[in-house]
Subunit: 415 residues, 2 copies
Amino acid sequence: MKKLATISIGDELLNGSKLDTNCNFISNELNNVGYETVMRLTAGDTKASILSSLNYAIKNADLVTITGGLGPTHDDVTKVALCDYFETSLKYYDDVFNEIQTWIVSLGRNPNILDKSQGEYPENATLLHNSKGTAKGILLSKDGTIVLSMPGVPREMKAILVEAFIPKFTSLSDERIVSLNIKTIGITEMMLFKAIHDVLSLYNDITVAYLPRHTGVTVRLSQRTLDEQRSQRYLDSIALKMKEMLPNQIYAIGKMTLSSVVGALLTKHHLTVSTSESCTGGLVASHITDVPGSSYYFNTSYITYSNEAKIKLLDVSESSLKEHGAVSEETVSQMLDGTLKYSGADYAIAISGIAGPDGGTIEKPVGLVYIACGSKTKKTIKRFQFFKDRIINKEAAASAALNLLRLEIIADYGE
Amino acid sequence: MKKLATISIGDELLNGSKLDTNCNFISNELNNVGYETVMRLTAGDTKASILSSLNYAIKNADLVTITGGLGPTHDDVTKVALCDYFETSLKYYDDVFNEIQTWIVSLGRNPNILDKSQGEYPENATLLHNSKGTAKGILLSKDGTIVLSMPGVPREMKAILVEAFIPKFTSLSDERIVSLNIKTIGITEMMLFKAIHDVLSLYNDITVAYLPRHTGVTVRLSQRTLDEQRSQRYLDSIALKMKEMLPNQIYAIGKMTLSSVVGALLTKHHLTVSTSESCTGGLVASHITDVPGSSYYFNTSYITYSNEAKIKLLDVSESSLKEHGAVSEETVSQMLDGTLKYSGADYAIAISGIAGPDGGTIEKPVGLVYIACGSKTKKTIKRFQFFKDRIINKEAAASAALNLLRLEIIADYGE
């Protein structure tokens, strides 16, 4: 495989105020056309820092991508560094500037916002079309290494890379990496490792990575290959063996999310779902509606944060709330009944918990969440003890709830 | 300032399947004790890749942090590379292993899950306590540069860095960087730049960065300083000047989020809010409840995805839905009335739009969203044309809605 190094430019990336997502996109896309990422660098907004990174990267790679450091708010420091490195100078391209101007006018915007410098590029560079913005991609090469410089704005970088660079400047090299994600929920990384490591280690021609999150652990299988389809079938067959070993914990093989798996089950069996949410505050419903086409199985949900709302919208009994508290088995059970009754949905989810940071007691600490899931004929209620962080608790509870629904539908209707 | 280089280890970071958040945390924390991040590197899970990165980083920094490549699922490749680089070898520490074993037992877990290798560390290393896991921090030094190696699991890295490394091994150096974020919404990066650049450039002793997102642009002011408090006051005074120039667009100076700003306004003026959401599917309510203490001003919300739910829960008129469609000024206006009526809240937000990818027409394209916001006495309805991506449209609409509420409360009650 050919070797790729990525360089991200930006003080805001270095000082920790902004998360870099460009490199992940670039690595994924170029991996599909035979590039393996061998290093990733982040450099500051100075010429010296960019040049040092470029010198180091170019020694180790066949292709170096640079993102950021272009445009008026960055003083175009990348263009200047490129000119230095490739011993050339900036040239003003009248036709490029006119093209940008025409494009800006076609969007109904004022062309006077443009600066003449936006028509300047290193002499000898190949310029790549940017369908989403004014800064072109810049392609230069030296000693057999190609350098591709793009703006840092993700949608512009993506347009240049996918529309202009990949179709014209890459060829499918022989070797590439094929990967497959096995997504689990309800099992810790260590337990998962213990459960599948011995079997997985028999396949000594694949690479295995464990990627833990608060909402579940993903196992990524990868293989270098000359035959993509054969490798895909091979990884699929291994993943199916894993699924036989952990049928409940593995919810997806491949790209599907927990919400889209649940959505596919609901669609397949012509079912609908509704939620009533206290501590998650609408997050479960939001996840459900992240899936295109969710209007086929999702009509309505109730966010009942206060006791009063639980009583008024879902018929939760006032005396039961007093006796057992809002965070209890009894309350989520009654919330579920009310949700099924008023929404008319086939399945419902009801959640109540203590998200934190305040509101915890010794008996009911922060992170305690009750989730009820079921239909008019069957109900499952589970107690979870999650973490100390409010946002993480909301995410963990939402995932656990969707997973309960998934298991419930499978138990009732099959996969 | 002292110079920091960070190295992240992991094929899953390089190949784009996992986002690296550790470096941002490390940069932020160490910046507070006088380190400036000069480079960031990501290396693969091999000894050669780690050694190459270490060699490059150590030339440019006073402190190099390494995260990842420790533990049984990574074959402890980092430990081996450190031994190579520092010309030492792994040594088994009985007391370390016993300590880990005791800790595991105290958590009620089985100590047999431990491997003897978890007691092995490079000879001569200083080991740093990890309150959240079994892998210790490893501190080594060479030619005046300190190397700190930590596990890749964020909570373990954070525990070692914040509890063990920073208090004992850093001293407040004289110079540091003080930063302040000015957060805006409802103005593009270019318009913002045009509006404030001339004034900001008069302050030639500060650095300015523009950080655009779909939900708004943040302007980050930074200054190197010997006097932290003085610099903070200085940046505060500049931010206040900006706020005078863009009173509506700047919603926060500092760390507050849009939801927490709205929450503070509601709390201050003893007001409550409720939402009814179609295309955002509960995301606005979820954002509102991300804020600790939101139960003081938030009781209930309605997710009315289908027309039927809009009619049943919020009294939206069936004939009006037929005439104008679900995505219209009329519909969100009626949703707002119903939400105010049934929730009893002082303010309400109502949203209906076409999130995509399907459902768009020429008159009502994907990304079209109507938002109504108001109280029983006053109502504002706005039409937005967002983007092509479903998830981004949900986020953009949720932020726009919270901002409408913010402006509405300020207009009625003041800041």
